[in-house]
Amino acid sequence: MSDRPAILEVRDLHAWYGESHILHGVNFAVGEGEVVSLLGRNGAGKTTTLRAIMGLVGRRTGAIKHRGDEIVSLTPDRIARRGIAYCPEERGIFASLTVEENLMLPPVVQPGGLPVEEIYELFPNLKERRTGASGTRLSGGEQQMLAIGRILRTGAKLLLLDEPTEGLAPVIVQQIGASVRRLRDLGFTILLVEQNFHFAARLADRHYVIEHGVVVDRYSRDDINQRMGELNKLLGV
């Protein structure tokens, strides 16, 4: 466990979609200011874990503590209001909103969010495409930047990022990696779901591996190089 105070603590989390039981008791914790990644194969339950934290699954049990308070029974909007922001895998850019409207959509939930100028600084591409165009006219990379950018304004300190690099060109992946590092420097706590292990390895302080809906292993940044072999096996790389 990290030495920093836990901002998020998940214990014995179970989650269901309709009749199907997806998570079977997930346990992990994220410390204040950390970047933590959830690794695992396709269908292992990584995305479901993020969605369960946000309250976006059919049913869930167990304990999710945010800054010491139990949030497992709250509705998604109440969870968001506590300062947790979610960036979904499919990015969720709204076609009927312009780029700027997309950026300005999430309401400010707590003081201390990034000013819009700073977000444009972080993602200069967005500034150029700001006016006129509908959000879905953007390229995949730009959409991803928009999806991350818009949750920085709200003042949420804990960001849940679901596969930010999926399907993007290497140069864009690098750019996003740089932004995430910058966000950590700015004091954001980030829980990252990744398939791209190499991307995650360079960014995250710690890693959890999920398989069949349970956490099967964890690695610190330092462990990684030594235990590369077993990790590769776990992830089926």
Binding site: M54, G55, A85, S96, M104, L105, P106, I151
Partner: protein, 296 residues
């Protein structure tokens, strides 16, 4: 006298103006339907019944409480909106996860109940409702006599339609709505109480129907069956405009009013069928309506 296609020009202009007046009612009603479909994914069959209720609330206020037209213009939509909120909270909200046919069927049942109850208590002949003093009489426009009240109908409904459009397209609240139409779950995860927003949206949209009802009370007879036939036409308009398209519903509402007006001049018998013909043609050529876009 100048004629256009064999019809005296003044008569033609008169018909167009009248078409516009009807279009104004259509626009108000179809706007509400479009908003409800867009945000809640429900085809609100009860819209006609709620429109009728708006007219009846106005009549009731006047007859039993002595409250006149102008206060009723505000009160009737509020009352109808409140009823809508109750309907949404207690019934509709349970159906969102299901096929939208269920919403259609539920509201169809509600329409039967509401209309049945009103027929039971008030009969079908209808109740009189006079236009307010200030709007009696009319203007001679040269080509036709325009009753002042009808002029007011156009103005009021255009203001409300345009206001609603601005609200939805140009404000933050509207952005939430539009976003919630696409991905309600994500919008909720941004910290917005989407269920509450849906409730209020339904309340607002049926309040629009109530507004149309009180606006219509002095023009048509206030009768429990006044919404029954109208609702089918308004459905057609929303479909032509493209389900869920706000601008589409307003423009199509006005447009259909004009087309009906013209049909009444050239081929009166067909005037109530023409909207269905247009609808069939539009759906064949553009399956998602004139302003609609495909949705999954």
């Amino acid at each position: 006298m100048q004629t256009i296609l064999g019809i005296p020009a003044p008569l033609l202009f008169g018909q167009l103006l009248i078409g516009l007046i009807n279009g104004a009612f259509y626009a108000l009603l179809s706007l509400g339907l479009a908003v409800i479909f867009g945000v809640l994914n429900v085809i609100n069959f009860a819209h006609g019944a709620l429109y009728m209720m708006g007219a009846f609330v106005g009549w009731f206020l006047l007859t039993h409480l002595g409250i006149g037209y102008w206060p009723a213009l505000v009160l009737a939509p509020l009352v109808v909106g409140a009823i809508g909120i109750v309907i949404e909270r207690t019934m509709l909200s349970r159906l969102y996860d299901l096929d939208h046919l269920y919403g259609l069927l539920l509201t169809f049942g509600l329409a039967l109940i509401i209309e049945g109850l009103f027929i039971n208590y008030y009969g079908v002949s209808g109740q009189p409702y006079a236009p307010p003093q200030a709007l009696q009489g009319g203007y001679n426009l040269g080509f036709m006599f325009l009753p002042a009240y009808r002029g007011w109908v156009i103005v009021a409904s255009l203001i409300v339609c345009f206001g609603t459009w601005l609200l939805i397209e140009r404000t933050q609240l509207g952005a939430y709505l539009r976003a919630a139409v696409e991905r309600p779950e994500l919008v909720r995860a941004f910290g917005i109480n989407v269920p509450l927003m849906m409730t209020l949206t339904y309340g607002f949209a049926v309040a629009l129907a109530g507004f149309a009802g009180i606006l219509a009370a002095p023009v048509y007879t206030v009768s429990p069956i006044m919404g029954q036939n109208l609702i089918i036409v308004v459905f057609a308009i929303v479909v032509i405009g493209g389900l869920g398209s706000i601008l589409g519903s307003i423009v199509t509402g006005l447009g259909i009013g004009l087309v009906e007006g013209l049909t009444r001049t050239f081929w009166p018998e067909a005037s109530s069928t023409v909207v269905f013909v247009i609808m069939a043609i539009v759906l064949i050529l553009r399956p998602h309506g004139l302003f609609g876009r495909p949705r999954e």
